[in-house]
Every structure is written in structure tokens, then in C-alpha cells.
Amino acid sequence: MTELRLETRALSRRFGALVALQDFDFKLAAGARHALIGPNGAGKTTFINLLAGALPPSRGCVLLKGEDITDKKQAERVKLGIARTFQINRLFRGLSVLENVCMSVAERVGAAPTLFHPVGRRTDVIEESMHLLDMLKLAADAEHRVSELPYGRQRLVEIAIAIGSKPDVLLLDEPAAGVPSAESHIILDAMERLPERIAILIIEHDMDLVFRFAKRVTVMVGGALFAEGTPREIEDNPQVRAVYLGQADRG
């Protein structure tokens, strides 16, 4: 059995009377390529928010490499190695692509609180950010404003910023959302080029992308675990087909 990176135990979250997540047990192995699927409103994004520390749970705990991090704030979790992307772009729209990535790299290496040296003095930050853009094939757009990029490229910047934190665990919240299906291979291509040591949890509605990328799939319905297995097992599971895959056209 491979080493565990992230684990949740009986993780629950209520919003008033609505139970968004109910006693959810989940395990993410080191270097995992794990997909979380489920119908709209199944609690997937709530789950990501709980893992990232953007929301406190109502009950249950989150463990990172065996250590309980339930009480840790979002910023602390980033330092411990959890990074996330957003379903709707959350970018520094007025800044260049390079500046977007530098922002997270500078934060990680501790350059950001520097008051009296210019940004340009930290060539290590700029250098590393450029290499990251090279890896995601974004270097050609490095000097462009993010707001001027086509949407698909902006989605890649989302991923690039998260990778700038050098995470052990990467949470991708619908990386291909809003991207025309003809272009979703760009996102898949970028995800496949991410370092293998990073454990990746991805939420995605594009089933084609999920089944090509993920080695393991968890199905969530109504805030609870519905099924888990290899992509093959999930695809062949009649109940899953009934509640979920049947609705999505897997062309």
C-alpha cells in the first residue's frame, strides 16, 4: 500500500439545514491521480474548500501525512503543502502571466514580506516562475496580461499559480470548466506534465478527461460516498451508471 498523503475522517459540513457533506471518509495516496465526480450539488467543491481550509468543518477531521490539520488556517495549510485551484478563475487579471506566478512563488520562498528591495532583485523568484511557465507551455504568454488571454490559457494560469506553492497535494476544482471541449486536451496535457510526486485530486464534469487522467475515481452523491474504484470499475458499476454516468454523455 502506498503512503497516504491526505485523509479525512467523518468529515461533515452543514449550511444551516442543508447537509453538504456527511461523514465523508477519504484517502489520497502519494502521487495519486484521483478524481472526484458526482452530480451538481453533491458537495464536491465544499469538500475541496474543507481540505484547503477555506471553510471550517462542522465535524470530523483532515489529516495531512498523518498529522491532524483540521484547526490550521488556509495560509498554514499552503505552507504545509496543500494548494488549490478554483472552478471560476481567481487570477490577478491586471497583471502579466509571469507576475501571477511570481506572486505565489514569492509567497512560498518568503520574499513577499520584503519592503525595501525591488521585485526585480529577486531573480530566483522570476527564474523559477519562468521555468514553471515553460513546464506548462505558457512561456510564450509570460508578458501578456492575464485578462487578454483566451479562457483556456487562463485556466492553465490557475494551475501554474497553484504549482508555484510547490504543493504535495494539489486540489483541482474543475480545471476544464468553461473550456470548449475541443480545447480540453490542452488542460489534460498540462495536468499530465505535472511532477509525479504531487498527489492530485481533481473534480471534473468532463468524463472523457476524468477517465483519461485519473487512476482512481470516487463518486459522491448527496454529500456522501457512493462508490470508489479504478476508472474501469466505476465505469462498469451499474449503480453509478444509473445515478450519474447515464446523465452525462460520454461521447
Binding site: 514580506p113 512561456a139 510547490k166
Partner: protein, 346 residues
Amino acid sequence: MSTEAVPAGAATTIGRTDHPAARVLIGRHHLRWWETLPWLAAAAFYFLFPDYLGFGTSLMITILFALSLDLALGYAGIITLGHAAFFGAGAYTVGLLAFHNIWTEPVTSLMLAGLAAAAVGLVSGLVLLRTQGLTLLMLTLCTMALLQEGANMAHDYTGGFDGLPSLDIAPVFGMFEFNPLYPDTQYLYTLAILFVCFVFLRTLVYSPFGQSLTGIRENLLRMHAIGAPVRHRLVICYTISAALAGIAGGLWAQTNAYVNLSALDLDRAATVLIILILGGYGRLYGAFVGAAAYMTLEHFLARIYPTAWQLGLGLLLVAVALYARNGLLGLSAVIWQRYRARRTTS
């Protein structure tokens, strides 16, 4: 995972810093030729308009005040309508110290004014900066109103509504006296203080800290998600901004030799906001352009139409708000780009 971080300098030899985008970042803080213009203009003004040095002095004070607002509002995106709280805190610090003959040395008084305003900024910031948007706007307004009412009620010390007149300010460095009729000293002294504060502020906004403030303005949620201590940064920014506003207020008190409740007025806070929007916020020089345009217009319009001068200003502001979203500086940048584009195509 900072242990995996590339050590400083180690990666610089690989040579990805020659990319145009990297070069832009590396050279962004370099001084450009036109950045000397405001200072050349200030020097020329001294020799060309000796009769207007009083106007020049109050213009520079307004520039400094607008710069302090630019740091908070333009860079960090802190929505405030109460920045005169800090201007007033600085002005009253200088005023109280001088009026009660406690301390009249101008340069150290200004430092104290900056410290006092910074303290107000820090304490109020710790509370206010938990909020955003309209709530924040209202709370900044309340802070200012509280201070103004406080100054009004502490009549025995502050003179209340009448303020503190005829402040006795010691000569600068024990040599240069403030003369109300010939404000040479006031002008040069204010210019020197503005220059020092500007160099400080310019260094700050081009630093990684300044960049992270821009990040907070551009996308708060993302800053949280990359692990930035957002509120901590905002409080530091707000405190520094308050200190600079306090220095501007202190200068105002020293060069006018009086303090009154107008230092803490909503009118003052609104005017500086208008000036910054007029010039263009988040770009440092907007404060210079905005203050110069606003005060020059005010000066001449008030002369031509003493009764209705605000109408002219109002029309200008409507035009800027409608057609130049990024202020006069933003407008001139757009015109410059079009001109260059036309030249390259023809």
C-alpha cells in the same frame, strides 16, 4: 515546502531571466526620464512664481496626502472615505505640541505626527480591516467622525471649534524661519519632505510587499489560497499610509501655523479621494497630476467665477468619470499608445 525552494542565486545562471517578461519585471523599478519632471517643475516653480509659493506649498502637501491614499486605496484596494482622520491626527499632534509649548522643532514634530497617525492607523486598521466594501467605507468614515468630535469636545486642549491659532514653530535646523509673508522656507521644506516620503513610497510599491498589496487588490481569494497573510499585510499597509497622511497633516499645521477641525473634515477626505481619482490611482504619479489639475483649476475658477467655481470642477469630474476611467494619467497613456500605434502603421 520551503525546503525545496531554489536557493537565492543558485538558479540565476540557468538563464531564463532574458525572457522579455522577466526583463520587464527585473527593470521595472528603474528610474525613467519623465520621473524627474515633477521635481524639475517644483524647482522651476520656485524661481518662476515667487508670489505663488504659498499655493505651491499647499499643492505639495495635498500631493503627499493623495500619495498616502494611493498606497491604501490605489495599491491595496482598501476602500476608505476617512483618510482625513490621519491627516488630522498628524496636524493636531504638531498643533498640540507647539501650542502648549511642549515641542516646536519642525522635523522631529513631523516624525511624531507620523507616529501618532500611524498609531491611529494601526489600532483602527486592526478592527476595520476585518471588513470589506461598504462596511469598511462606513467604518473609515465613523473613525474620522469620532476623531473630529473628540477634537471638538476636548476644547480645553484643542481649542474646539476655534482650533489652535498662531502656532509657534521653531526654525528648521535652527536656522530657517517660517515667515507667513515670504513662504520660501515653507516651500523648500515641504518639497524636501515630499521628496523623502516619495522615495520611500516608490521603493515600497516596487517591492515584493507592494506587489503583494496589488495582489490583494486584484484577487483577495487567490491571495488567501497562495498562503498570504492578507490581513496582516493590509494592516501594515494601512499603518504606513496613515503615517504618510499624518506627515502631510503635520506639514499643513506647520506651514499654516494653525490647526482647526477642518483637518478632520469629510470635505478634506472627499477632496483627496476626488484628486486621486482625477489623476489616476494605483500609479503614484496620479497624485501629482490630480492635485496639480484640481488645485490649479480651483484657483483660477474661483477667481473667474467666485460664486460658481465648483460647477466647473464638477463638470470636469463628470467628464473624467465618464471618459477617462483611469484618470488623467490613464487617459494620457491611452492617447500616447494610439499615437505610437499610428506612427508604426503609417
